[in-house]
Symmetry: C2
Subunit: 222 residues, 2 copies
């Protein structure tokens, strides 16, 4: 046996030695969410380009029958996003950004704009009916982006992150169109690449019934 493997534990496995506990973390996420809830709300069609990565929430504020509940829910304050997402530095998973930090990229702004385009290309939605809120994370805090997004999705259960999934999808690309288009693309058809997808999907009718049930269950104002 080499020196190497002799460092491996010979003790019996004890699960407790592997469990991490830290209540400060939950507090920190709450602090970030509290900050987020105090940031200004802007029209989705945000005119000004800005730098940075972070988390955003999109709110429906229009009058379409299917989403009318949101107008009720958000009447006094923006509490019920229809979608929560994040934009991180490209290549972060491969840790490439640690070597070539580009301060001046616009991931968050670009992602919000992709969403605006996805909405405006549909037959039954318009970006005029949406608002958004976003939170920029810089330097070490940027490691927190995924956590804050996950916490917000868990807490808010936004419709487009849960029952009606697929809004954030990208063109699957050549050779991958055998998969089904997303439920979101069934209800809001328009994205040209979604129409190339061949797989079987639920009907729009089924999904509309499902949306109504979902909103009654998760976003009841009472």
């Amino acid at each position: 046996m080499s020196k190497q493997t002799s460092l491996v534990t010979r003790e019996p496995f004890d699960r407790q030695k592997h469990v991490y506990r830290n209540d400060a973390f939950a507090e920190l996420v709450k602090n970030a969410v509290r900050f987020f809830n105090g940031t200004p709300v802007h029209p989705l069609a945000s005119p000004e380009k800005f730098h940075g990565t972070g988390v955003y929430m999109i709110y429906y504020t229009g009058r379409s029958k299917i989403y009318s509940r949101y107008s009720e829910l958000n009447r006094l304050s923006y509490d019920f996003p229809i979608y929560v997402g994040k934009a991180v530095a490209s290549g972060w998973r491969q840790s490439r950004t640690s070597h070539t930090v580009k301060k001046q990229t616009t991931e968050l702004w670009s992602r919000i704009n992709q969403h605006r385009n996805s909405i405006d290309i549909t037959k039954n939605l318009s970006s005029d009916s949406f608002s958004c809120r976003f939170m920029i994370f810089e330097d070490a805090s940027s490691d927190m982006i995924g956590t804050v997004e996950a916490a917000l999705i868990k807490w808010k259960t936004p419709l487009w992150n849960s029952f009606l999934d697929g809004f954030g999808n990208h063109d699957p690309g050549k050779g991958r169109y055998e998969q089904a288009k997303s439920d979101w693309d069934v209800v809001h058809s328009g994205r040209p690449w979604a129409d190339k997808c061949k797989g079987k999907t639920p009907s729009q009718k089924e999904l509309l019934v499902g949306i109504e049930k979902f909103l009654s269950k998760h976003h009841s104002p009472f």
Copy 2:
């Protein structure tokens, strides 16, 4: 204009109002990483099944020429993982787990075992040459999994998360084999689904040269 849209900010856009700053977060991640570095190291072929989700690091401890530098680097302590990964609760992104919390799932153990299988099915690696360390996150702390994984990848720059990507991939599935197999699968052929992928890849020779350069650059002991 409806009441609704009147809540949208009329002030000019001010980027500073959207920037979140909190140094406590970096400290908390360091605390988690410190805990992780104190957890026992086990052979990759871990015998006992355990419950939970979390983060793991895999270390190479064998004698193959291509990875021999790792034996040097990790001689005194396990400081240089070849791979860092995470296992989160299935469906967490759709926030489904918040409603049906299953305490007794074994995602982390399963993921480590998938990796063991990926290694043992190759022609040039064996799980006997690998060790691992893992950290279990429970309840609210589980939101921290992605952050700790990202921090570790940035900090450690593991070879299989960066230059030689693809170890953590899954079978792309029917209709998606037009893509290229991963660089990892080129160097460590064996997974049957990888051989079905048709796309163009770098040669094994090129990649071996690249691995040597990468290890010299990032994992130099001096």
